[in-house]
């Protein structure tokens, strides 16, 4: 792989896929219908139960 090609790739695709991914992740994290799932997850580790569910 030549240096010029690497530079071109990182300045085009490399820039935009990271920006697109960041937008996607923030949207996923703050999507209103996901809120309950995340709140439940945060609570799920608290509690005294210490056996696998079967």
């Amino acid at each position: 792989m030549e240096n010029d090609l690497t530079v071109w790739l990182s300045k085009s695709f490399g820039l935009f896929y990271l920006i697109a991914m960041s937008i996607g992740i923030v949207a996923y994290a703050y999507w209103p219908s996901n809120k309950k799932q995340f709140d439940d997850a945060a609570q799920s580790i608290l509690g005294n139960e210490d056996r696998p569910w079967r």
Partner: protein
Amino acid sequence: MIAQLTKSERQLALVILLAITICGLAMGIAGRDDPLGVHGAIVILAGLAGIFGVIYAYYEPEPSEARLALYYDDPSKVGIILAMGWVLIGLFIGDWVAWQLVFPNLTFDAGWSSFGRIRPAHTSAVIFGFGGNALIATSFYVLQRTSRARLPDQLSPWFVLLGYNLFCIIAATGYLMGVTQSKEYAEPEWYADIWLVVVWVAYFIIYLRTLVRRKEPHIYVSNWYYMAFILVVAILHIVNNLAVPVSWGHAKSYSAFSGVQDAMTQWWYGHNAVAFFLTSGFLGMMYYYMPIRAGRPIFSYRLSIISFWGITFMYMWAGSHHLHYTALPQWVQTLGMTFSIMLLVPSWASAGNALLTLNGAWHKVRDDATLRFMMVAAVFYGLSTFEGSFMAIRSVNSLSHYTDWTVGHVHAGALGWVAMITFGSIYASVPWLWKRERMYSDRLVEWHFWLALSGTLVYVFAMWNSGIIQGLMWRTYTESGTLAYSFVDSVAAMRPYYIARAIGGLMFLSGAVIGCVNIWMTIRAAHQPADERLADRPVPRPAGVPAFQPGE
């Protein structure tokens, strides 16, 4: 250990151990007088010890079905004990190395004890021996609880834990014999590297198999961090260690890369070893143990997701900041510098998330040294990620690079963040694992905490001073345009700081010795009638109910 294996698992264990012994034999025959032969003997001994262990208990009754109603915690227990053993070895060698810089005669005129050999023994013992065992032990613990599923079988966790420790022993003994690839944090030679790949794949498969059997629909964020740690370390390890051995009977190998490509691959590996070995896995630890110990859910679960993806994808590009002002193309250096600065966002998101979780539980931080270990870890995580971003800036790096400032930065992270969160998590989980009401002595936990904190501060301040003085002396010119100081002048100026650093390290080591005694006494304490885990684990309060402080 063996009694918990089913009949077929005992048979499979024998087959695996026999294969390991045969590999050791082949290494011994092919290696002969080479260090590879010595490592063959070590592998044979490990394999034979395992075979005798399995045969000794082979006819014990099989475990009952009742085991499936419980989590499988024995590998975690042994992992914690091994981690505490390795930390003593690693910190002792580290402090010895530190004193060698003050008194060079402390090599005692032997080759194996020279600085260049025991320094990697120190880094590997603390990073891989202590950190790795702690990560394996806590990841099995957290994985089962958050998935509400038992580990898939009884054999593979032992294969991963004990196989990993065999790798650590081969690595450490190799350095003392002068076996090294001369790549920082990737020193072990090709045969050790191949073995680690086998162990690591088995580790990842355990993770996937348990997650497939999970009863909790959502995969808790800690597991994401642990999985990133396992997966990315595998990728880094395989690529950076691509090498061709001189022959099958020779420990020495030559890297598949050369010149600046070799340097770039090494620091892509090296910096991501910091990111995924020393950060990602320990963040997984923090996101589980800190909320439980504080009795409060994580401040923002959504922020933890955003920081996860930020850390995972940005760290990948930061490695080239280790190669400022080298033959590496300028734009690659700038890329690494830019990503290092952007990394401050997800890093501080995690540190802030951790500290905000403690809002409403600060009275617990005051009273409970275990939670205080975790709090201080989060503070040091924030400090050292800021410092790291700062040092990655090219003009700052021109002063800091090749000086003790780098050493200070690494230890702010390794002692302040990694070791503190690990000690906190170990103190939290030892009573739960061994079904004790609490640690043997809370006072000893306090002693450990204050020794660890003051040792870290002494160490880091000594290295900041030393590094900046060193950097300035190297770039001070006289009126006639020549260097004002010779290199030896700068070495002589370091001596007081080297003494301070070695004392700081000694304090940190003393704290770890106290910790080992405390854990040992907790394990030895008479069995307390604790049905599940209780007492030491705060009962969580429903959200919105205020916590009353004493005296309110």
